[in-house]
Each structure stands twice: as structure tokens, then as C-alpha cells.
Symmetry: C2
Subunit: 664 residues, 2 copies
């Protein structure tokens, strides 16, 4: 069982137990911590450490320091978090303040619920964040707009401290200071820990206050868990009407639960950054928080809180999951032992990129760049110019877009670099659109000399990095799904990578399902099972090449199918499917062609939810294949259903009328 603080208890304890707003806020913060833990346990993931370090500040701001943030009332203040990771804290608070429906407490990271990172579709969320470093620029835009409209109201932006490694922060500080946008206040949640390790170990920021001052800001420093100190800083700031203000708030990551607070003794890695805790840790955390609340209530002469129980969420784990990124990292390390020219660069996503062992074994050839993707990619360019083979790591969503111009600039130097982009595609669906990389093929696909490939299994992951290191004379972009999955298929024993050419995973004569990567090839396999049950032979074809299509292979391998469905774990506009379809046209293949992929911003939700929502689950593929196959050739009499709700894509058949079905 897990448990949460129900609304009536929040009303009693967090909003009425004391006349002192500071005592109330302290109580409310701990109640919100209990509910944040509950939300993250329900969701299966979420950022505890960052939520807890900013919790006291956020509660104080919304209950005391600011004028009804985001209410739209005259003179109302605006608050948002630039780091975005602390969304669960803000959600818990907004629910406690009855600004969000209480039922949403049970819907973190679920379709139609509360997204993993902030989204303005949620009431009282002022900006979409989670892509780091954008918040102060957004505040600048809001402030300029307010002034143009003659409106007032402070704009308070919470940033992380690791986030300050992003160059955009420093781009944005100067214009705010130059234009004396005094309505803007930045709070740095200075908890000294980022994703992988201590900020000082990743990329030390030195004296943050001095830096802000050098950029023209008024700076204060205070204990971010001392509400009296925070109150005084805001009172002080209110007297300064001619310049922007920054509060460097010294906080503790995971504050509020003793064993989640900061690094454990002798440890280098913080263990409560992004995932759900174990049930044991969860229970211990709630017990500690409840005990502190109850002790306070006792001094106030009030009764202990009553938590409401909820069942422990049922999550099915894969049985023999393939972990592509782990296999990749292992193969890379094996090669690096033999090749001293290999260097590894990372942007604070060590474990998610499979390179922990590399760092451990070859520290001299491991370069931690922090949250500074542009710097990392250009640094790799400099290393390549000096004769090394850099292998650059980050999430696909950040690497392909934040450093987009930099990957291109490196490409113009015609040196060999490998870009390893993880967390690619629609799932995991929980973090939301800032982290779901569904347009990176498009973003990097036209970079000259850069070949993109997505493996569909651990074995192909090993083949891919070995091909990139040993065979490809140009640069490579390796795209990896991070979700561990049971795979229904295996590659032929004789399989070897050949640029632009795919491989049949499953034979079938009526329709070809063509795609890449474990998520959609797995769903295609399951769809083929269902189609087979209906007497339709669906081939499943793995084409790992994302921007290189061998037209001879297309003609030979696909030319014999009467119907072809392309599958993109990516936007359908400019993914692999459009290249396959174009190759069919250019090679004169005549087939009914339908392309599945995303046509809108990726939704946040459980993996199953978002795959169904975007028409990329097995039933959607079945529907698409049925709509694509010519009924006269099918073995059983059956109608040709139009693509259903989930069947996202673009199709047309022969010279008949255009049929398009696109859902969001």
C-alpha cells in the first residue's frame, strides 16, 4: 500500500493549523512532500531530489510572498520553474491549494494527467520547461510584453544550479539587466547536485553570486529551507525597483527525508534524482515526514494526520529485457581498450548513456562537460581536428537540437565523430515532450556526411557502434531507445550491417511492415501475429538506416509487396518513412503505401498510453495494415476498415481518392 494526504487533512493541517504563515508553510511543505512521493510512486518515475530541494521555497512563494501567481488578477505575479524537474512539488502544492483538481494527484505522468515536465495546458503552469536554460529568456519576453501592455506583476523563475551550465542562462542575464527589468527575480535552487554527481565534480560553477553580479544583477544568498530568511530577502528585493534580482538559495537535494538528503557518505552519485524509490525507501520516507508533521501538530495541540491508502501500482516488468544502451557501452569499452584514439564526452547523463564503466576504467579519456551540449559538441570537434575519435553522448532530444548547428559545423570539417543519442523516440512517455525525441532524424538527417542508425536489439547495438568505429569513414549518429523491452524477434545469425539495406525479421506476402528500433518492430511483430490470425501474411522488416536508403534494396526487397506500411518512432513528416516512400516512387515500385508516425507533439503518459494515443501500438498497426491491403487479394472476405482512432498516418491507394487519417 502507498498513501497520500487527502484534501480535508491538507485543509486542516497545512492551511489552518497555525496562525503563523511560516509555521503553516512548513507544515504544508511536508504534506506536499508526502504527496510528491505518492505521485512519483504512482507514476513510477519523477524527480524527488529536485522537488524536495525547492519545496520550501515554492510553498512560501505561493502562500505568502507572491500575489496569487498566474491567477490573471490585476497585479498578479507569475511563477514558473525553468528547470521543470520539480514539477511534482508544484503540482502537489497546486493540488493542496485547490488550484488543481485533487483527482490529478493520482495521474502524474499519465495521459490527460499531469505531465512529467511542466506544460501550459495544465492550469497555473506558466511556461513549458524541462529543456534547461530557457526560463529567464521566457521571463524576459513576458516582462517586455507586460510593459508593452502597461501591466505590472513580478515574474519569479526557479532555476537549478547545474542548469547554470547552459550557455543560454548567460545569454539571458545580460539583456534583463541592461533593460533593468526589475520585475524579474531568479531563484537558484542551489542544491549542489545534478543528475550524475555534485555540480562541483561535473563542471564547477565557482562563485555563482559573483557571476550574476558581473552580469548586472542584484544578488542575495540565503538558506532555501529557512522561510524567515526567504521572507526577509523578498522584503529586501521589494525595495529595489531598478534592477533584476537573484536569490542564490542554499538548499539540500532531497530535503525533508534524511536518507534522501544529499550524497550518502563516500558516495559520488545521488540516488534520488529521477526514478521512483524502492517501496522500502518510500515507506521510510513517508514515515519520517509524517512523524515530523505529527510532532509539530502535537506542539500546536492538534491531532496526528490521517493518510489515505492507495494500492501499490501494478507494473509488469519485462521478463528478459534487452538493454541496448548497456550493450552499446560495453562494446564501445571493448574497442576503446584497443584504440587509444577513442575519447568519450558526456553531458551529465552518464548512466543513461551506458558509459559508467568507460569512465571508471578509462578516466583520462572521459570528458564530463556538464549540461552544456553546445560546448560538448564543439569540444568534440576540436578533439577530432587533433586526431582523436570523439564519441559524444546525451539524450537524443538535447543532442540533436541544442547542438544542432555544432554537429553541422563539425561535419563541415570532415573529421570523424560519433554522436550517441539515447532516450530516443516516443517512450518512455512519462517525462513528456521536452524529453521525447521524435524529430531528431529530421533535425540531423540532412547533415552532410552524417549517417544515422537505430539498432533494434542488443546485438544490433553492438554491431552499430562497431560499424561506426571500424567501418564508417564518416561520422555517425547512433539513436537508441532506452526502455528495456522483451523482443519477440531476433536477427538472422548471418546478419551484418550494410548501409541503406534492411533485413527481414519475419516473412509474409501480403503487406510489409518496415521500421527500425525495438519499440515499433516489437509492435509490428505483435501486429503480424494478429494479422496472421486473420489470414494475412505480414512481413516485418528491420531497416536500421535512418537517413540512407539503398534504392536497389528498396526495389528488390520491397518491390514485391502489394502493400507497405512504414513505421516511424518519430514524426511522420520527415522521418524514415518519407524516405522509404520516396525511394519507392523513384524506383518505380507500385504499392499501396501508408506511413505511420507522430503528427503532433508527443503526449505524456504511460508507454502503452502514448503508443496507443499516437497510433503506434500493435492494434493500430493491425488497423493500418488492414486499411492498406487490397481486400480483393486477401484470403478472407472482409471490409477494409479505415484507420481507427489510433491509426495515425498518411495513406492513399492507387489513383483513388485521397485518404488521410491523422489524429493527435
Amino acid at each position: 500500500m502507498i498513501s497520500y494526504v487527502p484534501l480535508d487533512e491538507i485543509q486542516r493541517v497545512g492551511r489552518a493549523a497555525s496562525a503563523d504563515p511560516i509555521v503553516r508553510a512548513e507544515l504544508l511543505a511536508d504534506l506536499c512532500r508526502i504527496n510528491t512521493l505518492y505521485m512519483i510512486m504512482q507514476a513510477g518515475s519523477g524527480h524527488i531530489g529536485s522537488s524536495f530541494s525547492s519545496m520550501d521555497l515554492v510553498v512560501w512563494l505561493w502562500t505568502a510572498a507572491l500575489v496569487d501567481p498566474n491567477s490573471g488578477a490585476p497585479g498578479a505575479d507569475t511563477y514558473f520553474s525553468s528547470k521543470g524537474h520539480d514539477a511534482p512539488a508544484l503540482y502537489a502544492l497546486l493540488i493542496a491549494l485547490e488550484k488543481l483538481d485533487f483527482a490529478l494527484l493520482h495521474r502524474l505522468r499519465r495521459l490527460g494527467g499531469l505531465p512529467g515536465h511542466p506544460d501550459v495546458e495544465t492550469p497555473f503552469i506558466a511556461a513549458n520547461t524541462g529543456s534547461l536554460g530557457m526560463g529567464i529568456s521566457k521571463a524576459y519576453g513576458m516582462a517586455r510584453a507586460q510593459r508593452l501592455a502597461g501591466r505590472t506583476g513580478r515574474i519569479v523563475v526557479m532555476t537549478g544550479d547545474g542548469e547554470l551550465q547552459e550557455g543560454q542562462i548567460w545569454e539571458s542575464l545580460q539583456p534583463v539587466a541592461n533593460e533593468r527589468l526589475s520585475e524579474i527575480t531568479v531563484i537558484v535552487d542551489h542544491n549542489k547536485l545534478q543528475s550524475d554527481a555534485a555540480v562541483s565534480a561535473v563542471s564547477d560553477l565557482g562563485a555563482i553570486a559573483d557571476k550574476f553580479r558581473a552580469f548586472g544583477w542584484e544578488v542575495r544568498r540565503a538558506d532555501g529551507h529557512d522561510l524567515r530568511a526567504i521572507r526577509d530577502v523578498f522584503a529586501d528585493f521589494a525595495t529595489l525597483a531598478d534592477r533584476p534580482k537573484a536569490l542564490i538559495a542554499d538548499t539540500i537535494k532531497g530535503k525533508g527525508v534524511s536518507f534522501m538528503e544529499g550524497l550518502a557518505h563516500g558516495d559520488q552519485t545521488y540516488h534520488f534524482h529521477a526514478g521512483a524509490p524502492s517501496l522500502k525507501d518510500y515507506v521510510a520516507g513517508v514515515d519520517e515526514l509524517a512523524a515530523r508533521v505529527n510532532a509539530r501538530l502535537k506542539t500546536l495541540g492538534q491531532g496526528a494526520i490521517a493518510l489515505a491508502p492507495a494500492p501499490f501500482p501494478d507494473r509488469t516488468a519485462p521478463v528478459r529485457p534487452e538493454r541496448l544502451v548497456v550493450a552499446y557501452g560495453d562494446e564501445l569499452l571493448q574497442m576503446a581498450r584497443q584504440r587509444p584514439d577513442i575519447v568519450v564526452l558526456d553531458a551529465d547523463l552518464l548512466s543513461d548513456c551506458g558509459i559508467e564503466a568507460f569512465k571508471e576504467e578509462l578516466p583520462a579519456r572521459f570528458v564530463e562537460c556538464g549540461i552544456a551540449e553546445q560546448h560538448m559538441v564543439s569540444a568534440a570537434g576540436g578533439m577530432a581536428l587533433a586526431g582523436l575519435l570523439p564519441v559524444v553522448h546525451s539524450y537524443a532530444c538535447f543532442l540533436s537540437t541544442r547542438a544542432n548547428e555544432h554537429i553541422y559545423n563539425n561535419a563541415t570539417e570532415r573529421r570523424k565523430i560519433i554522436y550517441t543519442a539515447t532516450l530516443a523516440g516516443l517512450v518512455p512517455g512519462g517525462p513528456g515532450h521536452s524529453h521525447q525525441s521524435v524529430r531528431d532524424i529530421s533535425a540531423i538527417g540532412s547533415i552532410p556526411g552524417l549517417t544515422a542508425i537505430e539498432p533494434c536489439s542488443e546485438r544490433e547495438a553492438r554491431l552499430a557502434i562497431r560499424w561506426a568505429v571500424e567501418q564508417n569513414t564518416g561520422s555517425s549518429y547512433l539513436r537508441f531507445v532506452n526502455v528495456p523491452l522483451d523482443l519477440p524477434y531476433s536477427l538472422p545469425a548471418s546478419y551484418a550491417l550494410e548501409v541503406g539495406r534492411g533485413v527481414m525479421l519475419r516473412a509474409g506476402g501480403d503487406v510489409a511492415l518496415v521500421g527500425y528500433g525495438p519499440v515499433l518492430l516489437g509492435n509490428a511483430w505483435r501486429a503480424a501475429d494478429e494479422l496472421a490470425a486473420q489470414g494475412i501474411g505480414a512481413a516485418v522488416i528491420n531497416l536500421p538506416w535512418l537517413n540512407r536508403i539503398d534504392e536497389a534494396w528498396v526495389r528488390d526487397a520491397l518491390g514485391r509487396f502489394p502493400a507497405i506500411v512504414t513505421l516511424d518512432n518519430h514524426s511522420v513528416t520527415l522521418g524514415q518513412g518519407v524516405m522509404v516512400a520516396a525511394a519507392l516512387a523513384r524506383t518505380g515500385v507500385r504499392a499501396d503505401v501508408l506511413s505511420l508516425g507522430l503528427t503532433d507533439t508527443p503526449a505524456c503518459g504511460s508507454n502503452a498510453e502514448v503508443l496507443a494515443h499516437h497510433g503506434l501500438d500493435a492494434p493500430s498497426i493491425v488497423r493500418a495494415a488492414l486499411s492498406c491491403c487490397d481486400p480483393s487479394t486477401l484470403p478472407r472476405a472482409q471490409g477494409r476498415p479505415e484507420p481507427g482512432r489510433g491509426a495515425t498516418g498518411s495513406r492513399s491507394t492507387g489513383a483513388g481518392p485521397k485518404v488521410e487519417a491523422r489524429t493527435r
Copy 2:
């Protein structure tokens, strides 16, 4: 006539006239200024101001302060310019030092010559730059690589001062300081002027030295034209072996020619930033430089220099050129007078984006962001959240890539923003690959809710911005060619924009030439003239929609052509052509399809040179069309020539063997 300093005179005057290295360097710098002016006059464009402000520093570094930069000798130093705009100065010097062939003096910005911005294909050029802000990161990578290899040697990077507005600069300063990479020295060419105006007017940087110090750097400040002062700073730096060093060099933009030095009295705009000077200014500039050299030579007891003459380059100007960006800016201003929600954002490219008049008339709604594209785009996001309609401007190469994640983040907020991207496509070919935007359709084409369009004439430019403001409910990306061109076609009088649908500019029954924008539609028209002379009817079809293809229109409008050639002023991998070809497959149209577009890094050269080089001039289109048309249906007996050298693209016909012709 124009003139240059020939090699023998350089040897006599610049390298031997005095035993004092400072006197020699001062003389050499002025000789190089004369030759820089010559190169820029030959090329028709180039950055005088930035070349002249850094000239004295560059000459001193390469002749005295550094160990044979980039020679590869043991202990050799490395030098490169991060801003890259001052490439002509470095070229003039490398030619004078006989490190580059003297004949290259006549080949600035020409195919196979000296690129407009640095490229490592040129001897002694250490890094590709011109995309601002990347240099210190590259130096970091080089330094780490050197240390790994046990090599020594300083790495000296020249940056602009406007360039410091780029956030990546601040991303890169911290790790260099944290790792005490003392081999790195940054020189800030602090000439106080950037593209549009004074740095202090665009986005004031405040106390640059304080900022570098706050990031952990050792800083000196000196007159960048005083070689003795520069000498002393480098001697001082040599004593500091435990930290990176920065020299803030106070310089004068255009230094060396009195009327090119800094802003003219009362002027806001610097007039010698990027273009070639008038012949009158050129002659006056050379006269002044030669007079100063001769006066020095006289004091040294030596004869005056003898310049070598060269003919004034013959350049044909268009007769009645269409200026799309100007028309765009005018139409935007007209609408803005009626709509107070329109705000304009700029990143230091005012005149190139057609918004000078807007700034002049509506200054309160004009936001100058400086060279900070990420900040600009996120600021626009904040403004859109606050109810405004932001129109965001920069070159396509920077806007679509530097701010790629930011455009996406804004898109996830589902507010309406217009992105105006100028200098799109392969031409002008002179600035080189950092400025030639040939992958922006790919980079932004999959952003949800963002519709991209490229107008082909002034009239369509006006229609496009009016459509984006008044009709499109989502966000728009407007892509503009900046080259003024005579257009052989005109749009039908009744023409109106319809999403995803094109318009026939010229009828013809044998082959359809489908594309967008003035460059390739103009060339298609000229190709159609030539094809008509051969008895082949080529239709020219304007499809301005870059990421929206109406499949019904494709079937109806293109379905009747036996052959279709798509034309991309962009990479062929993921441009409009692949979407058209895919639409043909999806609608069941059977035609011979060939797609032209770039298949490699865009070459630097004159517009005619690069269009021919990449197979996008009229003769290449003729060859492509001929290779695509079925000879049995053609009116005259003729072979089907394979695509020639220029014919870049991918073609195949029917079920025959795959034919691909790709040239770089």
C-alpha cells in the same frame, strides 16, 4: 583598376625593411590591409571592419608572438579566429608569409579558392568558424587532445566582442578555467561594433574583463593596435602557467583607413561590416594606406611601394531585381500599424531581415536581442504566452539550428509565433557553409504545428507574411532568399496561397519541374526554355510549402506528367523533394521521378559557380530532365544522357536498374 601588393614588394617592405620586428609588423599589417581590400573588391563582399580591427594583432602573433602556428612542428602553437569574419586579414597575411599560394589572393570567395569564412581545407586554417561562439570550445577540445598525446603548444583564439553575446562563450569559459588549461589564450577583438550597430546599443556587454574574471580567467586589457603593448601582454601571459588567459584588446573597427574607422559622426550604423566598398572608397582607402606605408619607408630610407594593377572585376547586376525580404518587411510593417500585438525580434541582422523601417517607426515593439538566438526565440515564447504575436528574425542558418530546441519548445506551448529566416539556400555562395542554409527545412520541418513556406517573388513574399499573420492559426517559418534576382516568371493574377498546393508558372506536358523560391524556379524556367528548343515541353510548378504537401493536389496536378523533377535549394535527403516523391508513392502516381538538391556540404564560390557545382543551374536541370524523360515519347530522336557532372540527385525509372548520380 584595382591593385594589390605583389609578393616581391611584400618581401622587400613587409619582411625586410627594418630590423625591428615591430616596425616590420606595422608595415606588413598595412600591406595586408591593402591586399585585404583588393581581395574583398575582387570577391564583391567580405568583412573589412573586422579584418582591419584584428589585423595588427594577427600580424604580431604570426610574425613574433607565436611558435610557427599550425605548422605541426614540435611545440608549435595553434591560432584560429572564432568569429571567422576576419578571414580575409588572415588570408592576406598567410599569402604574404608564403604559407598560401599567392595566386589565391585573386580567389577570395571563389570555387576552389579561399572561403568567405575559415575552412580547414585551407592550409594553416585550424578550425571552421563563422558560426559564432564555438571557438573556445574547440580550443578546449584541442587542448585536452594535446594533453592526452603529451604535446605542448599554445592555442590562441580570436573572438569578436559582439560574439560574446552567444551563450556558448560562457558555457566554454568555465571548463577551461576549471581544468586550468593554461595553454589557451583568448583575444577579444573589442572593436565595440557589431553587424548592425554599436555593441553597447545592441546588447551591452558591460565590463567584459570582470565577466571573464568571474569565470576564473586571468585577464589583461591593452590597445590592440599597439604592438609593444601586445608584446608585453604576451610576455606577461608566458609567466602564468596555471590558468587560461584573456586579452581584451581595445581595437577600432576598420582600423587603418580613417573613414572606415568606427562610426561616422552622428551615425548609428557601421558601413564597412560585410560588403565591398564603393570604387571611390576603395581607391581612397588604398591611397591612404599606401601613403602611410610610403611615409614609413621614407623614414627608413627606402623607396615607395609599387602596387600591381588588376582589372576591376566585371559583375553583371540584375536589371529589375526582386527583393523579397524588402517586400516582406514592408508588408509586415503595414500589418503592424493595424495590429498592436505584433512585435519584432532581431538578432543583429536588421537590414538583412527587412525590418529597419519597422524599428524606425515602431521602436517600442522592436526588440533587439543581439547575437543570442536561443535567448531571442525563448523570449518570443514568453511574449506569445503573454498574448503577443512575435515575429522572430535571423539568418536561416542560425535561426533554424542554434535555436532549434527553442523553436520546438515554443511549439509545445501551442502559441502562434512567426519565424522569418533569411539568407536561405545555396546562394549567395560567397560566405560559405556557415551561412549557406541548406538543411533548415530538415531541421525545422518536423516541429509540430510549424508550417514552412518559401516565397518565389515579392508578391508571394507579401502573401506569405499576410497568410502567416492573418490566416494561419499555427506558427510559421518563412524562408527567404536574399539575393536580388531578375525573375522570368510571374504568378497568375488570381493566385492565392492554399496550404500544401502549388501553382503552375509555365505549362508543358513532358516533364514537370517542381520547386520553390526564386533561385531554382528561375533556373527551371531557363531550363524549360532550353528544353522547349529541343522540343520538350517542361512545366514549371511553384510549390511554396516546404513541409505540407496536399496529396490530392499532388495526384491531380502532378499525376498527369510522365516525368517529374523536384528541385531543392536544400539538401536532397530531407527537403521538399522527398516529400513530393513520397506523396507520389502514397497517391499511386506512376512517373519517372528525379530529385535534385545538395548531397554534400555547400561549396563556397560565386553564385553561378556553386549552382553549377551542385547541379542546380539551368544546364544541370536540362540534363536531369532529359535523363528523366522517356526517349520513346520525346518528339525528337535523342539519347537519354546520363546526368552530367552537375546533375546532382537521385533518380530511377520504372523497374529498371537503379541509376544514381551524386556529385559533391
